[in-house]
């Protein structure tokens, strides 16, 4: 399917259709994980290590077990053996990986490491008992800090005699070195990004229910991908996959944190099987900030060769990531992805890279909205550094390097193939919308008055809908029921990204029925066909694509049957608003609902050989990646007396292909930008040198509020992708682009003071320190 034909009557795709999930969620009738209640359900909580690295000398459960209402307490040595396999294992040639068990056993490896699970009749009792579990620790040297880990004499893990988890580099390239040697300027700078936490507003949790007799595990999960959870629980519990059912109803945000099931969730499932009763675990916010997976915590050094005209002729990137103790993805992922995507929207002819990840005694790293986004942070801040150094305008230097339409198709030095992208257009569109020239004049006037205004640009290409392995496909069953109402069954789930609305828009258009007549059923492995779930901005492209394919297939059957009944050729029919009419003869028509009824109840009226019923299932295997592109531009004022950064204006120019619902697209961008603002200005999960986390409440881990996020304006460029609906992903772009735009705006504002900004967060104290440093330099 190479082109995007518009549906015959495109009424819903492209429209700002109001959300189907809203009436339920706005009236308090959502079904989140903590709303699940099963008869006989018990409650779990965890005893966690207060130390980053220690030997467990003894665990005394006596007092805790005596608390009335306590049902069981197990430590690692008691429970871990119930798992059939290590929970996950990313070990490979040259990439060691620790054995991951549900509970710590023998030693602890980060502050928050679960040491024992307490099961009781309610959460208050469970927490009382957890307080009384007496664990004796013998402290060991903790490995903390990504730049210190490799040389540390401590070891993050027993049994792994290095803290280096992964290290690799591109082959030596004489042409790259020659390009550097021939450059008019060679500029080197290191950029740092602090540790973040995804912080979905709903913390992690699950309810596991082992049904004795049926020998079946039902898991209610706060997840992003129920089918992958099913496979996970089947594997670690040693169960056949058809004896596991995973149900996710409403999920209060994920942002990558809920892609993978974690050690605690596994312990709860194992406990349920031992007890033969449902067990619920809902973590509190301190646990979420301390022990749910973290993100970012990385740095990148760029060496850039530039010719006299500001064209970049050579670039080398080296990346260092702290992946914590038990990363939920392979240790290479943050670095490898960032390095691979780094060339981004520019014609960088010569590129080399090196990457390294280290284990530390901190909470493990996982995916967070654009987990490779360090490439945009480093590259886009570097573009401004170069511009300043060689005296070229930052918009102009991007123009000189950005991929133009006439360059397409274009293959990056890392082998990514771009076809239907528009980075030059989104760059210009965003600059125009913000009023670039006018702002420069305003900035000059402000400077003359002693005020510090700045503008920052961030341009990037986002590989969306990465499709391989478990996330390669999506499936949709579209079923017209006997009454003519339509159920769509998909392997997706709901955590804020509006699929109950957008998938229905796609199907309603193809079937020509009112949107109220279509409903999406998802998030239940017993109901839906296999799907990869939500990760990597894949839903619009892959789920939207297959919803369309399946609906088109069913439409063909509907028309064939209607044609038979109306004695007309299927090609001469159209479906509009639930009525099928012979084109040009409005008198000759049949209601969609009548066709449905006949399909099920009156098989003798079907054409020869047609199977009764109206249902189609399709699976769609998407291309390896579908590229979206965007430029974010923002302006700010920095108060040099207080260090406060105030964002003044914010524009996102973006091309996510054909938009299913612009309201949802803009919501996704806004949410991502807000998270980027948090990362640029506020959020920091800091550890002290002993590995003690310093920001485990919302008083310390600061999220942006209504007063921190400005109004965002959007300019949409629509270049259809080469996928069935012409869509591209848009879930992560906002978060990817924002930090660099903001850092560049602050650096631009403070440039007259000689301040260089290369790290985050730009909190008032750190801004003041940077100003002080520059003044005393």
């Amino acid at each position: 399917m190479s082109t995007v034909e518009k549906p015959s009557a495109a009424r819903f795709v492209g429209a700002r259709v109001q959300r189907r999930e809203d009436p339920r969620l706005l009236s308090g009738h959502g079904q989140y994980i903590d709303d699940v209640r099963l008869p006989g359900m018990l409650h779990a909580t965890f005893v966690r290590s207060p130390l980053a690295r220690a030997r467990i000398v003894a665990i005394d459960l006596e007092h805790a077990l005596a608390v009335p209402g306590v049902v069981a307490i197990w430590d690692g040595s008691a429970l871990n053996g119930d798992a059939a396999t290590p929970l996950w294992d990313w070990a490979g040639e040259g990439t060691p990986f620790p054995e991951v068990r549900a509970l710590a056993e023998g030693d602890v490896r980060f502050a928050g490491d679960p040491v024992a699970i307490v099961i009781a009749r309610d959460r208050y009792v469970a927490e009382d008992a957890a307080e009384l579990v007496d664990v004796e620790y013998e402290p060991l040297q903790a490995v903390v800090g990504r730049e210190l880990a490799e040389a540390s004499t401590g070891r993050a893990h027993d049994g792994i005699d290095t803290n280096v988890a992964w290290s690799a580099a591109s082959p030596t390239d004489p042409a790259l070195e020659a390009a550097f040697a021939a450059s008019a300027h060679v500029i080197t700078e290191t950029f740092r990004q602090q540790r973040h936490v995804n912080v979905p507003m709903e913390p992690r949790g699950l309810v596991a229910h082992w049904e004795r007799g049926a020998e079946q595990l039902t898991v209610y999960a706060s997840s992003q991908n129920p089918h992958q959870d099913r496979e996970y629980f089947a594997r670690v519990m040693g169960l056949p996959e058809h004896h596991v059912r995973v149900i996710m109803r409403d999920v209060g945000g994920g942002f990558g944190q809920k892609i993978f099931r974690t050690r605690e969730e596994t312990a709860v499932a194992l406990a349920s099987r031992r007890l033969g009763r449902p067990v619920k675990w809902i973590e509190d916010r301190q646990e979420n900030l301390m022990a749910a997976n973290h993100a970012r915590d990385e740095q990148m050094t760029l060496r850039v060769g530039v010719d006299a005209d500001g064209v970049i002729t050579a670039i080398h990137a080296s990346h260092l990531a702290d992946v914590g103790a038990y990363p939920l993805m392979p240790a290479m992922m943050p670095g490898f992805m960032a390095l691979e995507v780094l060339p981004g929207p520019y014609r960088f002819a010569r590129y080399g890279w090196a990457g390294k990840s280290v284990f530390t005694n901190t909470s493990g790293i996982s995916a967070y909205r654009g987990p490779w986004m360090m490439e945009t942070v480093a590259r886009e801040i570097m573009m401004d550094v170069v511009a300043r150094e060689i005296g070229v305008d930052p918009a102009e230097i991007r123009r000189r390097n950005v991929i133009q339409t006439e360059d397409l198709p274009y293959t990056t030095p890392t082998g990514r193939e771009y076809d239907r992208i528009s980075p030059a257009q989104t760059l210009e569109a965003a600059l125009e919308e913000i009023g670039y020239e006018r702002f420069r004049e305003e900035q000059a006037r402000a400077r003359a008055e002693g005020r510090y205004l700045g503008l920052g640009i961030s341009t990037y290409i986002e590989p969306t809908a990465g499709a391989q392995g478990p996330t390669g496909i999506e499936a949709a069953t579209v079923r017209v029921e006997p009454s003519g109402k339509v159920n769509v069954l998909m392997g997706t789930g709901s955590h804020g990204h509006s699929l109950e609305t957008t998938m229905v828009q796609v199907v309603a258009d193809q079937l020509g029925v009112p949107i109220e007549d279509v409903r999406l059923l998802q998030g239940d492995t017993a109901v839906s066909p296999y799907g990869g779930g939500t990760a990597g901005s894949r839903s619009a492209v892959i789920a939207g694509g297959v919803a369309r394919i399946s609906a088109i297939k069913l439409r063909e059957k509907v028309l064939e049957l209607a044609g038979h009944l109306l004695e007309a050729a299927a090609a001469d029919l159209e479906i509009e608003d639930g009525t099928i009419t012979v084109k040009g003869s409005p008198g000759s028509s049949i209601a969609f609902a009548d066709v449905a009824r006949i399909a099920y109840y009156d098989p003798s009226r079907l054409p020869e050989g047609m199977e009764p019923g109206l249902e189609s299932t399709s699976r769609y295997s998407a291309p390896p990646a579908t590229y979206a592109n965007s430029t974010q531009v923002c302006t700010c004022e920095v108060d040099v007396a207080t260090g406060e950064v105030r964002l003044l204006d914010y524009v996102v120019g973006e091309d996510c292909g054909v938009m299913i619902n612009p309201m949802v697209v803009e919501g996704q961008i806004a949410g991502g930008v807000a998270q980027g603002i948090g990362g640029a200005l506020l959020e920091h999960l800091a550890y002290d040198e002993t590995g003690n986390p310093l920001a485990i409440t919302f008083k310390d881990y600061l999220l942006p509020t209504t007063e921190d996020v400005p109004d965002i304006r959007y300019v949409h460029v629509e270049t259809p992708s080469n996928t069935p609906g012409g869509h591209k992903g848009v879930g992560e772009g906002g978060a990817i682009g924002a930090p660099a735009a903001i850092v560049n705006a602050v650096a631009d504002a403070l440039a007259p003071l000689g301040v260089r900004v290369t790290s985050q967060p730009l909190s008032p104290d750190r801004v003041l320190a940077m100003i002080d440093d520059a003044r005393s330099a």
Partner: protein, 162 residues
């Protein structure tokens, strides 16, 4: 722990129950009264997700004990609009302007917006941003929420003049 008998009116229905003095009001509402529309996102008073109306005032139900609400009259998200009846202007505004994505912060925002608009029927954007700055949302970037509250004020004015 000895339990105490309390009676609380929630959304015009009387709930009587025996609770431990340490049980939070939020847990009483969610567990004892099975009104799960009130959410807990921090349990330490910062995020505002658990906001309810107590005798008309917006309070954080994670910061109160159930026994402190004995005899009080509460409104939670479930009770704002009559069951099956039209949404309130605030709910309508949230729907029209994509003021929610995952919906987890939404109970707190909607209740807070009700209390805010009662005191500021014709607010400026700045007043809305300040008035709701004590609630956290991780999904929306707030723009849709601010627009939703502006729209709610507009609907309310239209209703009054109509």
């Amino acid at each position: 722990m000895s339990k105490q008998l309390i009676s609380v009116r929630i959304n015009d229905e009387l709930f009587e129950g025996e609770v431990e003095p340490r049980k939070t009001l939020a847990d009483f509402i969610r567990e004892d009264c099975t009104l799960t529309g009130t959410h807990l996102a921090c349990e330490h008073g910062v995020c505002g997700a658990c906001t309810i109306l107590l005798d008309g005032e917006a309070v954080r139900s994670c910061l109160m004990f159930a026994v402190q609400a004995d005899g009080a009259s509460l409104t939670t998200l479930e009770g704002l609009a009559p069951e099956g009846g039209p949404m309130t202007p605030v709910q309508q505004g949230f729907m029209e302007h994509h003021g929610l994505q995952c919906g987890f912060c939404t109970p707190g925002f909607v209740i807070s917006a009700h209390a805010f608009l009662r005191d500021h029927p014709d607010p400026t954007e700045e007043e809305i941003r300040e008035g709701l700055s004590g609630n956290l949302c991780r999904c929306t970037g707030y723009q849709g929420i601010v627009r939703a509250v502006q729209r709610a004020a507009e609907i309310t004015r239209e209703d009054v003049t109509a």
